[in-house]
Amino acid sequence: MTALLRYQGALLLRSQRWLAPLITYAAFVAAGIRPGDPALDSLGFAAAGLVPTTAWLVRISVTGEPDAARDCTAAAAGPVRVHAAALLTGLAGALLAGAAAAAVALLIGDRAGAGAGPAALAGALAVAACALTGAAVGALCSRPLVRRRGYAVLAGTLGSLLAWLLAFSPARGAVSALVTAARSGTAPLPLAPLAGALLLAAAAGAAASLTAARRS
């Protein structure tokens, strides 16, 4: 699995297709957070932006290998593991971006109420919850479950919107925990949304990976 992750990582990094989602995410974060804003508020904003970013990155990662090359890799390592590695690679890239954005939010934000340590922990949990939710959206809205490019982009956009809006979405849970806490001034610990996001991502990843072996 390590070799597969290294291979998928090299493909994603060298393809430079990560540039578009990451620049969009950077613009989103830059437009939304200001020096002196409450740090928890900014962290919530940075985490929220990670949902579509992760879905996009995951989609790039699972479509990065041309079919013929993917067949060769699948013969070597099995199609399920190949697909799982691609999903994890996209998720890892998004977590890196989210960590960078959270660090910026924490550094330039007002940490007066919550304190830097608890705010950082809350931000890390929210970033993880949003990235995992976005990865679930990306996994469900890309090949092999959605094969047509147009439908996949449409489904990914809708999925990300729903992850923001639906009451039971882990991403919404994590973000609203941070935003609510920004008003009260105590850092929350959004463990329940993180657990929900982990379950959701695992289920979506398993569904997509297991379908990868089925004949198209």
Partner: protein, 253 residues
């Protein structure tokens, strides 16, 4: 769509799959290589290392040929240094060493196919699946792939292939199976040409080893072997001490 297929692939066997266009040859090969799972039924006993070569390998990968092959070698379970060494070795073998540092997107169709063949042979696979793998290769690379196939079967590996050229590996395949009407028609094991040698040994000397030995009417022994092994047997008989006397060598049809 393929149905009701029962196929056993013995170790060391070279198996050819035939059939019309769109009949499901590639589908069967993908199932055998483990790329797709059957909707019903099972495929069991696949060796741990499987190599697959597709017909076309237009690999728009953002990696150089050597880097891609090293990554694939590690995916096959090789340590890094060994993967890099074998990547260079396979490129050299197929006459593509000059392209080791070329980005894959810049490779010609033929050079791309050489990389595809190289990746399948990196880990000395126990099962090698070739879907028209020779297409696009130049003559020396095609001959090299023939040799690589012979090496794999000699080492106990199984090779399954499809090719549009009926002369491909002619006489070497242990079995020809046909796909017809969505199912597999098992072919008989094709016997290659055989050679009968009539030899007379020194009185009281030991018989040469191996099967296909029978006493000949009028003295001596008759040895029947595959044509491809007849040279080696003759050499053995003539260099034995004391040597055998060869009366006749006859090809059987």
């Amino acid at each position: 769509m393929l149905r009701g297929i029962t196929l056993e692939l013995p170790r060391g066997a070279l198996v050819r799959i035939e059939g019309g266009n769109g009949g499901g040859k590639s589908t069967l090969l993908r199932l055998l290589a483990g790329i797709d799972a059957p909707t019903e039924g099972r495929i069991t006993g696949r060796p741990p290392r499987t190599g697959y070569v597709p017909e076309r390998f237009p690999a728009a990968l953002p990696l150089t040929a050597a880097s891609y092959l090293t990554h694939l070698g590690r995916v096959h379970g090789l340590p890094r240094a060994e993967a890099a060494r074998r990547a260079a070795d396979r490129l050299e073998r197929f006459g593509a060493a000059a392209y080791a540092r070329t980005p894959m997107v810049e490779l010609s169709k033929g050079s791309s196919q050489k990389v595809a063949v190289a990746q399948a042979l990196l880990a000395e696979p126990g099962l090698l699946v070739l879907d028209e793998a020779w297409t696009g290769l130049d003559a020396p690379a095609r001959a090299e792939l023939d040799r690589a196939v012979a090496e794999r079967t000699a080492a106990g590996g199984t090779v399954v292939f499809v090719d549009h050229d009926p002369r491909r590996l002619a006489g070497a395949a242990d079995a020809h199976h046909r796909i017809e009407g969505g199912t597999l028609v098992p072919g008989s094991v094709t016997a290659g040409p055989r050679v009968r040698i009539h030899a007379v040994g020194p009185p009281g000397g030991p018989l040469p080893p191996g099967p296909g030995v029978a006493p000949a009417p009028g003295g001596g022994v008759l040895l029947t072997v595959d044509a491809e092994h007849s040279d080696a047997l003759l050499r053995e008989l003539l260099t034995a001490r004391p040597p055998w006397h060869i009366r006749t060598v006859e090809e059987l049809r």
